[in-house]
């Protein structure tokens, strides 16, 4: 008996609770039947193949179930996080905007799931939440890039060349206002004044402020981010 056979044997023993000899006898019985049928026309081999295929299907189904399980776990985790945020405001429906702001900050966007969950938790109609999310500029219904690039186009920045900065950023990143680069790295936004007017034109990547920016510097600034 090889090592492998021995281990299979011990497994079967454990599963069916039979003695070694009984198993061996059953195995021999099967084998003799198998040989008596002849190898080439053996329906058993076909049957075995079917079994094998079935096993593959089962494992795939299992994988699907697992991944769905993972997804569910992910969703539950997200909902737990949202619960935490809602609790911070003691479930007060007047704090809806504050809750949405926190969710936007934590997840980078507001998923449909989040809207549904909040709607249920706060007893606020789905449509009202949707109305708020689409009215205010901060909220996004699609995932944002890993880094948030904001180009200021307030008046002071505008007359000091802000539009050229925006244009260059659009060209360098290959996306427009409110879009995300295909690799999900950067999200570009134009904003109306960040209150740093004395330093215009300015751009902000995540929380890093860059003042008195020249169009040619955009590439260098963006290259700092992974």
């Amino acid at each position: 008996m090889t090592e492998e056979q021995r281990s299979i044997l011990s497994h079967i023993q454990k599963d069916v609770n039979l003695s070694k000899t009984e198993i061996l006898l059953k195995g021999l019985e099967l084998l003799s039947e198998y040989y008596s049928l002849g190898l080439d026309t053996s329906p058993l081999s076909l049957e075995l193949k079917k079994l094998e295929e079935e096993a593959v299907r089962h494992t795939e189904a299992l994988k699907r179930v697992r991944s769905r399980e993972d997804a569910l776990k992910e969703i539950i985790r997200e909902l737990h996080d949202i619960d935490g945020i809602v609790d911070r405001y003691s479930g007060d429906s007047n704090a809806l905007i504050q809750i949405l702001l926190d969710i936007q900050k934590q997840f980078g966007w507001i998923s449909k799931l989040a809207v549904m969950w909040i709607s249920e938790k706060l007893r606020v109609p789905f449509s009202s939440i949707y109305q708020i999310v689409t009215f205010y500029k901060v909220f996004s219904l699609t995932p944002k890039g890993r880094h948030r690039v904001r180009v200021c186009l307030g008046t002071a920045c505008h007359i000091r060349g802000g539009p050229k900065i925006m244009e260059r950023a659009e060209r360098v990143m290959g996306v427009g206002d409110g879009e995300v680069t295909p690799d999900g790295k950067f999200g570009l936004e134009r904003v109306n004044c960040l209150g740093c007017c004395a330093l215009g034109p300015m751009i902000v990547v995540d929380d890093d402020y860059y003042g008195n920016v020249k169009p040619a510097e955009i590439e260098k600034i963006l290259s700092k981010y992974e």
Partner: protein, 632 residues
């Protein structure tokens, strides 16, 4: 009350007047220029030189001169240093702190006289200011209530609670003629009285820090630099009006302001200055911070209150003012950050003192954010009534790069353009309104000859049309139509009828819009048409942009006699529209050129010319470069 005084004298006794204090501005502006690194290096350097017990490093609020940040002041000598870099830190510590010597190269140099300023007052930017509200920004660590208390903080609240009745507080504010700093200039005392007398309980007091005007940042600076002054003002107002609950609305773009005011509230609560039975006076007050979510229109009072209720921040018709029926249909008094910050000063020093500052119709000081094409940009606080000329030329140091002044725009997107002939106008609420502009929240945007008025007007209308909530038709559709016309004019497709249409649409907006966003939206259009009609006409009839800004009306041309064939423009052109080589003068292919202006900025020899109307000279290829002799 006595406890507060006890605490105050304790804090003051703890401080050693001889101790060196290094204050560094840690507000958004200076942080953007690297203040955080300066603070870190300072801490390390102090440790390294073993001065931990003798030197204190304080992170303070904004001092206004943001352009020259990061800013450091060394006390007790009060030496101001500008543009400090981490590598300058060891010198500041070893020379100024240890030896009392001045680090010359970090001082402010007056560009006109060449003198170096060893005190803040020696700098023209500060010399002409009257800093009542901003003064403490330089001295206080906004995250420490002790600093505020040491400088007399919450004294005014004590005075109001123990020596005055609510009626007397309102009377004092009315007498002071404090007018709302948020834009309208409505007398604050009258608003308080209305809310106080309005039927319904509970009453609310609110702070408006939804500083949405692009180009203005005084509220941010106060909120970040001295949050307790706003809080104290709000509490005095609440006491006078009879409110026990307040809200502070801060826009989302100001994370540091949110952080500092939240800390301030927590600390005030810990010290018994906020919450139940404040200073054993029996007065209860609590306050919540509400972050905005990015909507310009939410700065309007009824919209702001809707936002706090958790709804869409849209205005409603105000047949009944929010002072009577506001937040949750209850009497609600909303004032701007700067208005509230003035209140403790008035209570402490009296209405007469306040009335003596400023003009007869507008008392006190006003903080302006002086930005745009001016030499000294930043926050300035001046008495009402100062002339625009003094503000721009004395404090602002004139126009950048020696260019010519064209116009100044006050009051944000809804304000108007003021031309040179009105430069001697004294700034107060009424005078600005007379020339078709407004105080707004105090943005002063200076424009030079390189600024195209039509383009800036288009910018404002674009901004407002995007920010219009869309509830009423005149604002939603009117602004869109104005924008269409302006877009056409800027792209060289203007027609004779356009100016008439602009005027008609402006009139419509003013008469028929629901809220102030719409009724004032036409101000930039109207004032620019009045004072700069010639620019519009040049755009329409000559297809020429006098400031050479509007892209469709400008062409770039390389002057062959000036070009040094350095390849700078050629390499940087994003569309490869420039031809030439190391020995041949470069030529722009006008058909390929997208007029992005990159070449204009990259050329080290100023050989590229902007031409408007966009009819450049015919290109001449293959000219050999005439190099200028290098200076020995």
């Amino acid at each position: 009350m006595t406890e507060l005084e006890k605490l105050r004298s304790e804090i003051i006794a703890r401080g050693d007047p001889k101790k060196s204090i290094i204050t560094v501005c840690a507000s958004t502006g200076c942080s953007a220029l690297g203040a955080r690194k300066v603070i870190e290096s300072l801490r390390e350097e102090i440790k390294k030189q073993g001065l931990g017990g003798e030197v204190e490093i304080k992170e303070t609020g904004c001092l206004g001169f943001c352009e020259l940040g990061p800013r450091v002041i060394v006390y007790p000598e009060e030496i101001p240093y500008f543009r400090v870099k981490p590598q300058d830190v060891s010198k500041i510590v070893s020379e100024t702190v240890v030896n009392g010597k001045i680090v010359e190269h970090l001082l402010y140099v007056n560009p006109v006289t060449g003198e170096k300023a060893q005190k803040l007052e020696d700098i023209p930017f500060y010399k002409h200011q009257l800093r009542l509200l901003l003064k403490n920004n330089a001295l206080i660590d906004p995250k420490k209530i002790e600093d505020y208390i040491a400088l007399g903080g919450y004294k005014a609240l004590g005075k109001a609670l123990f020596q005055m009745t609510p009626k007397q507080v309102i009377k004092e504010i009315k007498k002071s003629n404090l007018r709302g700093r948020g834009g309208g200039g409505f007398p604050a005392g009258r608003k308080w009285e209305t809310t106080c007398n309005a039927p319904g309980e509970p009453k609310y007091v609110l702070v408006n820090c939804d500083e949405g005007d692009p180009g203005a940042f005084m509220d941010r600076s106060l909120m970040e630099g001295n949050p307790h002054s706003v809080l104290e003002g709000l509490m005095i107002g609440a006491y006078a009006i009879g409110a026990n609950e307040g809200f502070i609305y801060v826009r989302e773009e100001y994370p540091l302001a949110v952080e500092n005011i939240t800390t301030a509230i927590k600390q005030a609560e810990d010290h018994g200055l906020l919450g139940k039975n404040i200073m054993d006076s029996g007065f209860n007050f609590r306050v919540k911070v509400h972050r905005g979510a990015g909507a310009f229109v939410s700065g309007e009072s009824s919209a702001l209150m809707a936002a706090i209720e958790g709804k869409v921040g849209e205005p409603r018709p105000k047949y009944i003012h929010t002072a009577v029926k506001g937040l949750w249909e209850r009497p609600s008094c909303l004032n701007n950050v700067e208005t509230w910050a003035n209140v403790p000063l008035i209570i402490l020093n009296g209405a007469d003192w306040f009335r003596n500052i400023g003009t007869s119709s507008s008392s006190g000081t006003k903080i302006f954010s002086l930005v745009g094409k001016v030499n000294n940009t930043g926050l300035v606080e001046v008495p009402m009534g100062i002339t625009l000329r003094d503000l721009i030329f004395k404090i602002g140091g004139g126009i950048r790069g020696g260019k010519k002044f064209k116009a100044v725009q006050t009051g944000g997107p809804s304000g108007g353009f003021i031309p040179e002939k009105y430069l001697d106008l004294s700034i107060d609420f009424d005078e600005l309104a007379k020339v078709g502009s407004m105080m707004g929240s105090g943005g002063v945007i200076v424009m030079d000859e390189d600024t195209c008025i039509v383009d800036v007007t288009r910018y404002y209308v674009d901004f407002l049309s995007k920010e219009s909530c869309g509830k009423c038709v005149p604002c939603r559709e009117g602004l869109r139509q104005i924008l269409n016309v302006l877009n056409r004019i800027c792209s060289g497709l203007g027609e004779g009828e356009d100016l008439k249409n602009l005027e008609d649409l402006s009139k419509l907006l003013k008469e028929a819009s629901l809220c102030a966003l719409g009724t004032t939206a036409a101000n930039p259009v109207v004032t620019s048409l009045t004072h700069f009609r010639g620019e519009y006409e040049a755009h329409i009839h000559e297809k020429r942009c006098p400031a050479k800004v509007c892209r469709a009306l400008v062409a770039y041309y390389i002057q062959p006699e000036k070009c040094q064939a350095c390849m700078a423009c050629l390499k940087n052109c994003p569309v490869n529209a420039i031809t030439g080589d190391k020995d041949t003068v470069h030529v722009i292919n006008q058909e390929k050129c997208i007029r992005c202006g990159t070449c204009y900025e990259e050329c080290p020899f100023n050989s590229i010319e902007k031409i408007s109307p966009p009819i450049p000279l015919p290109p001449r290829h293959g000219i050999k470069v005439k190099r200028k002799k290098k200076k020995e």
